[in-house]
């Protein structure tokens, strides 16, 4: 964690700085794909740039969702593994009220002030790459404050490797109440970018709905992604 503290402003300044960069005209890939139901599971296996809408199977509303992120640790290098070029991906969630960022959950602020969104903790090196979540963010949708209407999940490469260089990286959205995977993205071997705006969960009527976004972007932490996030709200 120490390596991160000096490079990231603390939470308050993160929210109060005006969005510095104007929205760059990077292409966000084609949008509006269709439901892709490959495989036996109902999991929607996304290719980058697809946007789909999901509702809980059976039409009900989601109550608890988890965004999981996993990747394979870099191969050990150097005599004692000290010179391994560690790969550190970070999952973050930004809470919006009417397009205004209100709170953010990331490795330096693990629980949203209202307690509804929780990060399970920072993983600096990755895991076995066998499909397990190395970082996860849990959202208790029933406890999200009434004015929060959208929660956006993002993934950043803190150490700067592009997703091309990361092995077995994925992120997925899971319905935490029954463990069912709602959407999964494969990140590795992809394009030359260091971040992805994963998905948003937003209020529809009295319940919640999830829209998978999967838009590539560039940036070290979620702050850098703000301009890229805003068009998706």
């Amino acid at each position: 964690m120490c390596c991160k503290t000096d490079t990231n402003p603390d939470r308050v300044s993160a929210l109060s700085v005006p969005l510095r960069r104007v929205l760059d005209n990077r292409t966000h890939g084609q949008r509006g794909g269709e439901r892709n139901e490959r495989g036996k599971r109902v999991t929607v296996n996304m290719t980058k740039g697809q946007a789909i809408s999901l509702e809980k199977q059976g039409g009900g509303s989601l109550t608890q969702v988890r965004m999981g992120l996993g990747w394979q640790a870099a191969p050990r290098r150097g005599l004692f593994g000290k010179r391994t070029q560690e790969i550190d991906l970070d999952a973050s969630a930004v809470l919006f009220a009417d397009k205004q960022p209100v709170d953010v959950v990331f490795f330096r602020h693990l629980v949203s002030d209202d307690g509804s969104v929780k990060h399970t903790g920072d993983n600096l090196v990755g895991g076995a790459g066998q499909g397990g979540d190395d970082e996860a963010i849990l959202v208790d949708l029933q406890r999200v404050p009434v004015h929060i209407d959208t929660i956006v999940f993002t993934v950043n490469s803190f150490t700067g490797q592009t997703f091309q260089e990361v092995q077995n990286a994925f992120c997925r959205i899971v319905d935490e109440t029954n463990g069912q995977e709602l959407a999964r993205y494969t990140l590795d071997g992809g394009g030359n970018y260091t971040a992805q705006i994963m998905a948003k969960v937003h209020r529809v009527g009295s319940g919640w709905q999830m829209t998978a976004l999967g838009n590539p972007a560039n940036g070290r932490t979620f702050q850098d992604l703000m301009p890229a996030i805003l068009p998706h709200l």
């Binding site: 109550t63 009220a97 009417d98 205004q100 209100v102 709170d103 629980v111 002030d113 209202d114 307690g115 509804s116 029933q142 406890r143 404050p145 009434v146 004015h147």
Partner: protein
Amino acid sequence: MTAELVRGQNHPLPDTRLEIRVSAGHPVLAGATLGDEQGRVPGAEWIAHPGAPSLHGVAVPEEAAADHRLTVDLEAVPGAVHRVSVLLALPGARGAAGAARFGAVAAPHVVVAGRDGTEIASYTITGLDSESAVIALELYRRQGAWKVRAMGQGYDGGLAALLGDQGLERPADVAASILETVAPGPAQVAAPTQRVPEAERVRHTAPVTSADPATGTPAPVTPSPVTSTPVTPTPVAGTGAPVTGAPTPATGTPAPATSGAAPSGGPIDYSHPRRRAATPAPAPEPRQAPPAPVAGDASGWSMDERLYNQVWGMFEDLARTAAAYRSACDFAESRLDRELDETLSDYRSRVGGANDSARAAARARHDELVERAQAVLDRDLAQLAAESAVVEPALPAAFARWDNPVWHAYRVPAEEPMAVRLGDLHLPERSELRIPMLVRLPLERGLWVDSGRGRSEAAGLLDEVELRRLALDSAVAHTARLLAAHPAGQFAVHVVDAAGAGAAALAPLVESGVLAAPPARGAAGVSAVLEQLTERVDLLQMALRGGAADALPPGLDAARQLLLVHDFPHGFDDRAVTRLRYLADEGPSVGVHLLMVADRQDASAYGPLLDPLWRSLLRLTPVPDDHLADPWVGHAWSYEPPVLPPGSTVLRQVLAQVAGARR
């Protein structure tokens, strides 16, 4: 929902027809005494025990067994009886085989259930040691209704001492005759009888007008010697004694001589005795209806720790739910501002009523959002208030408010608690919802009761003299609590009161004799106390750093020290101030703590030099003040100092106990 009681906690009884299930994991004798209003048992004929198993609506098993089922019909209890004490005794206590102390057997678990088997309350009697008899529960009348209280009152002197305590004459003889009835002998060794079918057993209890739970007919219970009340399968499963399993108390268990072995007549029950209450898995409740709160509903190794964690959990919950509410209100406010601005800047709408209606719509949107946020807040606060209502009465003395009855039963503890309560915290959203402010022991930093005016409103209304008096009063209350929290002789208090201005407020400490020495007066007294403590800290620090804790002089006591400083900096020269700062910095790590009662203004001559000292202390106030922040969100919480009930003598009583325990 079963209420898991802690010692001393009471619980209302919705039903007068009760079943009390005991699982001890070891053969015990179960009985009940019927007492009058004062708790006195008039005679041996008012004791239900294996030799006289049924009595005025109370029926107890005839054998000593590991699992018991007692039945009580409170309506059949005579009007003169105000208290039914359920007692357990170890039959081996009289020299026969078997354990002679509860400390050597599993903690007995007692469940109070309604006649239909639904559990009302349960209680695990922990903390027993050399006792061989214990009052497990007490059922008592309170304003016409019956309640149950978890007692856990053990007696080293066994059943005789227990009965003697209830005012019985010749308790030893009575106890002996009771224990005789279950003494291992040929007559009592019940052969492992074959299992009697449930239906047949019901018929056996001939005089019992059985209340069929299904039909719900409230039939009066006429306890018979072989009381085995009809039970639905559910409660049986609940006791962990499977219907098809071990012999029930009614059919008899092997004599206690087998010393805790599983009843040979049935399969061995491998289930954990404490887990039994949890066996009937309650259907998961819908999220919308949170389960009834239970005290101690948090993780931890001991009840103290569980309550501590629960209180901190409530603290965090309140902070977070208030954060959600405030954030929603702020957002509603800012959106309203923006929308009002927009209507003003829209030239076209300025003419005509469009403007007004747009503004009304904006206001309506604001109000609607705030209303929804308020509804969520109210729901959460109601849940926390309900939790607080069960947690507060269950708190041990160190965590409890001074008006908690637990202080009247105060005894000097054998070991120090995890934490002490230094006051209450609340938020303006619901100022009556108070969170105990629990601070871990040993104190990590010194305390400072600010007798200055500060910025608080409440302090502004008081004159200076009054404020100083209140400050010293609350410092004395903190001191008394710290003294009460520590085992006898483990906490020494030194007082510095250079001008003697605090003599009246310090009187409870001085008169009860809990102080190490009379309050130090004058410059000489101040420097003597400071020098003594400085030397101590220096010595202990040296020993600690050198890893030579056993090389300390033998005369040095291991007690923690508290220095209560009144009227700072009166009587302090520069040298004394330096010593005080040394104590504040170096003292806490070796158990020397500081409690300052001071107004920063008085020490203004020192300029900024003392700022680090003030900052290193935990600031408390003698009047409500909002200067404390929580660690999660950083709200400003209103701190409420501890208040002794007016006219209460509890402080002096507690101090007298503390002083008495040292002798």
